[in-house]
Symmetry: C2
């Protein structure tokens, strides 16, 4: 059987552009015993991909040149020689940017119940995105009703989940985002109590202080850099900060105000979080997320691209921040 | 009855000098019901006092001008009209730099068993110092046998306890200190596996890497600043850092390398620790520390000054780093 796949053709320059990928066709071998064939239905496009295609030190090795682009996907098993996986089952896993994946089960994150939600939702609200928000917020941030929770990239796939989970727990939620369109979605779609457009606000610290009259108890950070400096300065005693992304550390912001004194005086915690340490517990996150999803407390938008060849375009959009919601590719 | 006390006469300039204190005499009133009189036997001199005498924002209000200097002390109850405290009992508490203290019990941290150890030891190994090391290391750092633990101000009152507790738990312990004399004590008295004099070493990062071939799992930090930058750069995945002091953040080092990327990539934790949040659990720390002390696993040195008027001199020595061991005043 023939497979179409997107492989990494070269390392990116400063910005990731679509031309670092190359579409290739290959002839798949017959299945061995213990293998099954997945026809991918939706592919994921994630901010982490920026790191995966560069060869800077990271939490996992970069995608090798010539290798299929690493990606989560939801697919349907179309043939099986594996006792644990049957034809017709839906699976969520690390299947890559390709039409077909031969799996031995080791790259499967979970079997999907197609009655729970539209299939694409398993790639975000009930997938890695939702699990990132769930574990990163509830286990490190541990927000309590009445506390103030600040989220950077508040309209993003992860950020919007964080804001909504915190809201569902009775917190005051403040979002920081980078466009008026996203700010509007934060308020009207994701239910933040207040939102700040850091690009157009006069003084982030002043506006934050205004919207957080009781200080900040929990900070779910996807950016670091000057935005986070402003948030950290308003920490309450016992504040908890999840470091989930550092996209705001540009070459001009490698240095910044030291946080140690604030952490000491506020007895605050700053902790890095990487979802890959926790994917083996995905079912636990889904257990927490599904009731929220089913009671309509987890709103989302999807930006769906059609066709494998559109995946790099989707990634460009995501990394440029022009996307509107979770970026997906429908095959 | 007459009491001699040291009051804060003025705020310090850049450095804390002995002349910011003034010796005063006062006539004490008779005890009310519910009060008792403590004759202080040993007064403590602590690094935190630098913060207490300045009016910069801090975790507790500064000592007011004209007020007796805040301090822990061990004393003997010499008169009591309090049902819970009897004449002859030894108590450890926040009794201030003075000969006599009228207490209602609210400033007592614990009653001391004089058979456990020499009385002065209750001011450090079995007092705030030991509790700082105990809770800050075991609860935030949570060191496991075989892990590498780095301690800054490794020969200090707290640092030396941290190193020894970690050693007793089977860790590899690396100390960072600022003089050859202290380095020698780290090795021969406190049992560190290796020690670095940051003032004379060629390149702290290089030497640290050499002494920590398996990276760094736990960092108990009393300084922040460039020393900590070097330590953080060697963090292992899952590293835990206790921020217990920030004496290395001088005006020239207010900014430094951002830690967020390291925390993220290493899924590491940085958490501020202040012993005053935990003093109500002092008995729990003593329960952990006493068996180590009694089996001679907690070595210490004392630098004892004689007479109330010498307390400011002791503080000068401590803040200049010229002290040899825990600074105490014997009355």
């Amino acid at each position: 059987m023939k497979n179409q796949k997107l492989v990494l053709a070269k390392r990116p320059d400063a910005n990731v552009s679509a031309d670092i990928f190359r579409l290739e066709e290959e002839q798949l071998p017959a299945l061995n015993n213990g293998q099954f064939l997945v026809r991918n239905l939706y592919l994921s496009v994630d901010p982490a991909m920026r790191g995966w295609v560069t060869d800077m030190p990271n939490y996992i090795p970069p995608v090798a040149l010539g290798e299929v682009m690493r990606s989560f996907a939801v697919g349907k098993i179309v043939e099986s020689k594996h006792a644990g996986f049957s034809t017709g089952e839906i699976v969520y896993g690390r299947f890559g940017w390709q039409e077909l994946t031969i799996s031995d089960g080791s790259d499967v994150e979970r079997k999907v119940n197609p009655d729970d939600a539209p299939l694409s939702v398993n790639l975000h609200v009930l997938g890695m995105t939702g699990a990132t928000a769930w574990f990163g917020l509830t286990e490190i941030g541990n927000p309590q009703a009445g506390e103030t929770v600040v989220v950077s990239t508040a309209a993003g796939a992860v950020g919007s989940m964080v804001g909504q989970i915190a809201k569902a727990r009775g917190c005051r939620t403040i979002g920081i985002t980078g466009s008026d369109e996203k700010a509007e979605r934060c308020l009207n779609q994701f239910g933040y109590d207040a939102v700040i457009n850091y690009k157009t606000c006069k003084d982030l610290s002043v506006e934050l202080a205004e919207y957080c009259p009781n200080g900040i108890d929990v900070y779910f950070d996807n950016v670091s850099g000057p935005i986070s400096d402003a948030v950290v300065s308003l920490f309450n005693v016992g504040a908890r900060m999840t470091v989930c992304g550092v996209i705001g550390i540009s070459s001009e912001h490698l240095n910044g105000p030291r946080v140690a004194r604030t952490l000491l005086v506020k007895r605050a915690k700053m902790q890095g979080f990487l979802i890959f340490d926790h994917m083996h517990r995905l079912a636990q996150a889904v257990e927490g997320l599904l009731p929220l999803y089913k009671t309509d407390k987890l709103k989302f938008s999807e930006e769906i691209y059609n066709g494998l060849d559109q995946a790099p375009i989707g990634l460009e959009s995501l990394l440029a921040g022009t996307n509107q919601g979770k970026v997906l590719v429908k095959l």
